[in-house]
C-alpha cells in the first residue's frame, strides 16, 4: 500500500510539472488553459490520493479534498475561458475554428 502511494505521488508530481511547463510554453491563453488546468487537476488528484494511501489516517480528508477539487477546478477554468473570450483576447494565428465568434458579435450588436 505504501509503495502504491509513493508511485501515485510521483505520477502526480510529474503531471503537475508537465502542466506548469505547458503553461510556460504554450502560445495562447486558451492553449495555456487547456494544458494547465487539466494536467494540474489530474496531478493534484493523483498526489492527494497517493498521500491518502501512504498513511491511512489521512484517507478521509484526502477524499474530501479530492471531491472538492474535482467539483471546483473545471468551474474556475471555464470561467477564465469565458471571461477572456468576452474580453476579446485573440486566438493564436494557427487556430482553425472559433465556435463562439458569433455569440460575441450578437451580444455587441
Amino acid at each position: 500500500m505504501v509503495v502504491v502511494g509513493k508511485i501515485l505521488v510521483l505520477i502526480g508530481s510529474i503531471f503537475l510539472f508537465l502542466g506548469s511547463l505547458g503553461i510556460f510554453r504554450m502560445p495562447d491563453v486558451y492553449n495555456r488553459l487547456q494544458a494547465g488546468t487539466k494536467a494540474t487537476t489530474l496531478g493534484a488528484l493523483s498526489l492527494i490520493l497517493g498521500v491518502g494511501f501512504m498513511n491511512g489516517s489521512f484517507l478521509v480528508k484526502s477524499i474530501v479534498l479530492i471531491i472538492f477539487i474535482v467539483l471546483t477546478n473545471p468551474i474556475s477554468s471555464s470561467t477564465i475561458a469565458r471571461a477572456s473570450h468576452k474580453a476579446g483576447i485573440p486566438l493564436v494565428k494557427e487556430s482553425v475554428v472559433d465556435v463562439c465568434k458569433d455569440n460575441v458579435r450578437k451580444e455587441e450588436a
Partner: protein
Amino acid sequence: MILGLSFVLIGLAVLFSTLRLLKGPSTFDRLLAADTLAIITTALLVLMASYFSRIIYMDVALVYSVLGFAGVVVVARYLEGGL
C-alpha cells in the same frame, strides 16, 4: 527518495508558473497562472502533511483551496464585466 524527487518536481512547477505570472502578456494569463499556483500549493501542503505527519495541514490545504477558487472566480467575473 521518491518524496524528494516529488518535492523537486513541484518546486520546478512553482518556478514555471511564477515565470508565467510575472511575464504574461494579458491579465488572463496572470489569472490562470495564479489559479495553477493555488492548485500546486494545495498539493504541496498535502505532501508536507504527509512528510511532517501533521494532519492539521490537510485542513489548511482545504481552506486554501476554497479561498483560491473563490478568488479566481471573483476576479474572472470582474474582468468579464458582470460581477
